[in-house]
């Protein structure tokens, strides 16, 4: 597929907007999983604005690509995406976490239009995606099942049960993406429960691994293109990311797994996001000569 300049600029802009909307949503919600949401925004942006074959006017379309947010705690980052796509009114984001709201910390697919799985208990998503993929294959459908996992989440044995089965069933229609921000709740992943050599683990389970800068849209496009085409072996994309990416005050700090954001802080964070994206764009232009 690749990414042309125009598309790149539009997606960069989208990622910037979504980061800011995430900060606002955390503010409206009275708190939220801001760190892991901001680390995943670039991945979500590419999936929802470039790759996924979905129809907003027909959210239950049987042939649509599926997406399972296995790290289900980042509803504050994912609901803005679904709202911005037009699955529901953005105004709803202002009710996030309020009693009776359809939007709570972990999103509920029976309440949130456009959501394919209710997640929040870690370690389920990759198996759900596998089931969708196996089902799709049996039904003769061509859709992909994308799954986004946290790296801390990969402590769960169930993730590896899914990995083993994806390779065994050659379910190359599952696209496995791990948000490798190297942070969890109680600390950095390598301090709490070491994952390294992480890529080797996925390889040993039968995957082809692509490690990529999870905040570089060109690089992400390249590996997603590759994973989508792969037929022999399933591909695991390890996206190197920064928790809290874009907000200098909280970036790469595991203590901001969950935080509340005041109005003042939100303004400051959004300014930092602009600075981050301005800088990122400049660097990108430079490297492209």
């Amino acid at each position: 597929m690749g990414l042309n300049k125009e598309e790149f600029l539009a997606l960069e802009n989208k990622a910037r907007e979504l980061r800011k909307l995430t900060v606002d949503t955390v503010m409206w919600a009275g708190g939220g999983h801001i760190g892991g949401a901001l680390s995943a925004i670039d991945i979500l942006t590419l999936l929802y604005y470039k790759y996924m074959n979905i129809d907003v006017s027909n959210p239950k379309w049987e042939d649509r690509d599926r997406f399972v947010l296995s790290k289900g705690h980042i509803g504050v980052g994912f609901a803005p995406v679904l709202a911005d796509k037009g699955f529901f009114d953005k105004e709803l984001l202002k009710t996030y976490n309020h009693t009776y709201s359809k939007l709570g910390m972990h999103l509920d697919k029976n309440k949130v239009v456009g959501l394919d799985a209710s997640t929040g208990s870690l370690g389920h998503g990759l198996s759900i995606a596998l089931g969708m993929a196996l089902g799709g294959r049996l039904l003769g459908k061509n859709f992909k099942a994308y799954c986004l996992l946290g790296d801390g989440e990969c402590n769960e044995g169930s993730v590896w049960e899914a990995a083993m089965a994806i390779a065994h069933f050659k379910a190359t229609n599952v696209i496995t993406i791990i948000d490798r921000n190297k942070c969890m709740i109680d600390g950095r992943t390598e301090d709490v429960m070491g994952l390294e050599p992480f890529a080797d683990k996925w390889e040993a389970f039968g995957f082809e691994v692509r490690t990529v800068d999870g905040h570089d849209l060109y690089a992400l496009t390249e590996v997603l293109d590759y994973a989508i085409k792969a037929q022999n072996k399933p591909v695991a994309i390890i996206a190197d990311t920064l928790k809290g990416c874009g907000v200098a005050d909280i970036q790469d700090d595991y203590r901001y797994h969950y935080a509340s954001v005041s109005e003042d802080a939100a303004a400051k964070y959004k300014k930092q996001i602009d600075e981050y994206h301005d800088k990122r764009l400049k660097l990108q232009e430079k490297s492209n000569g």
Binding site: A29, N97, G120, N155, G157, D186, M193
Partner: protein, 335 residues
């Protein structure tokens, strides 16, 4: 349960889990067999309090509950006293086979202190609510189940778990609980309900965060001239049959109140005793009405499902109006 007299000031400052963390540190200081296990929730559950003075006795398993529960059983087998803490929904369901087979079946000395129970993590939704655990855990043979009413009772519950060999499941809330007791010296006994108010018109049997609400309801009912007995049924298993039978005989009307599905929990445990006792009694179970809850603040959710103080009062008024018919006066034609 001596010498843990926290002041009122402390109570307002300390979350229920903090009482647990403090108590665990005390136990760890006097008994080197006490160890703590968590799964990337050491801070949230406050088991991480051990870190400061006993860094070698706190084990963070990462986000891997099954491994943690089975390992706890292994530690108990070699003589340690493992305390295991994670959110209640994961403590009771994510690794249940491990807890069932490795801890309960083998009668291992494993103590589970499960936090964020009931709807206390209200905004997090059904993946983090836990309204099934009392029902699940009281069907585990060998396992004792305690639902403390506040921080001070949590101190007693944790000590009781330490003092009695075998598996325990203690469920506490996220955040702060309004204090029911001014200190921990009020005569807590495992398996013995505590009468909070006296009355003969009806009995409200509550556990956990519902105890303070039951007491508030009893106060409101007093204004109507209805005298309600309130029992704090902190131990769900073994349940205090004597207190329940006494309530049947003396008040003939029982309302149970719990932050749990009305199926399987405190209400069911009380109903089992009532039916086996065989004396006429009108009973209502309050709690989450067999549904996955909406999201929101804990208080709001309790009100929504009718088990806050107002909800209890409403149900009390209803059942006060029901005439209790003694067996010999039953008219078979009614059925």
């Amino acid at each position: 349960m001596a010498n843990l007299n926290y002041t009122m000031f402390d109570a307002e400052k300390m979350s229920t889990a903090e009482y647990y963390g403090k108590t665990l540190c005390e136990l760890a200081a006097k008994d080197s067999r006490v160890v703590g296990l968590s799964a990337d929730l050491a801070k949230s559950t406050k088991i991480g309090a051990l870190e400061k003075d006993f860094p070698e006795r706190i084990f963070n398993f990462g986000i891997a509950e099954q491994n943690m529960f089975a390992a706890a059983a292994g530690m108990a087998e070699v003589g340690l006293i493992p305390f295991v803490s994670t959110f209640a929904v994961f403590a009771s369901m994510r690794a249940l086979d491990q807890f069932h087979t490795d801890a309960c079946y083998q009668n291992m000395n494993v103590k589970v202190i499960a936090t964020h129970a009931g709807l206390s993590f209200g905004q997090a939704g059904s993946t983090h609510h836990c309204t099934e655990d009392i029902g699940i855990m009281r069907t585990m043979a060998n396992c004792r189940v305690i639902v403390p009413a506040d921080g001070r009772e949590t101190v007693n519950a944790v000590k009781a778990a330490y003092e009695n060999d075998g598996p325990f499941y203690i469920r506490i809330n996220r955040g702060y609980d309004m204090p029911v007791y001014p200190n921990s010296d009020y005569g807590f006994e495992l398996g013995k309900a505590i009468q909070m108010t006296d009355g003969t018109d009806l009995t409200i049997i509550a556990c956990g965060s519902c105890v303070i609400r039951a007491i508030a309801a009893a106060k409101q009912l007093e204004a109507d001239g209805i005298r309600a007995r309130v029992l704090n049924m902190h131990t769900i298993k073994p349940i205090d049959k004597e207190a329940i039978e006494k309530a049947v005989v003396e008040t003939k009307r029982i309302i149970t109140v719990e932050d749990h599905n009305i199926i399987g929990g405190l209400g069911s445990a009380v109903a089992e005793t009532v039916t086996e006792f065989g004396k006429t009694c009108v009973m209502r179970k309050l709690g989450v009405p067999d549904t996955f809850s909406i999201i929101g603040l804990h208080e709001d959710l309790m009100a929504e499902y009718g088990y806050d103080a107002n909800g209890i009062v409403k149900t009390a008024r209803e059942i006060i109006g029901i005439q209790v018919i003694d067996e010999e006066n039953w008219d078979d034609d009614d059925f």
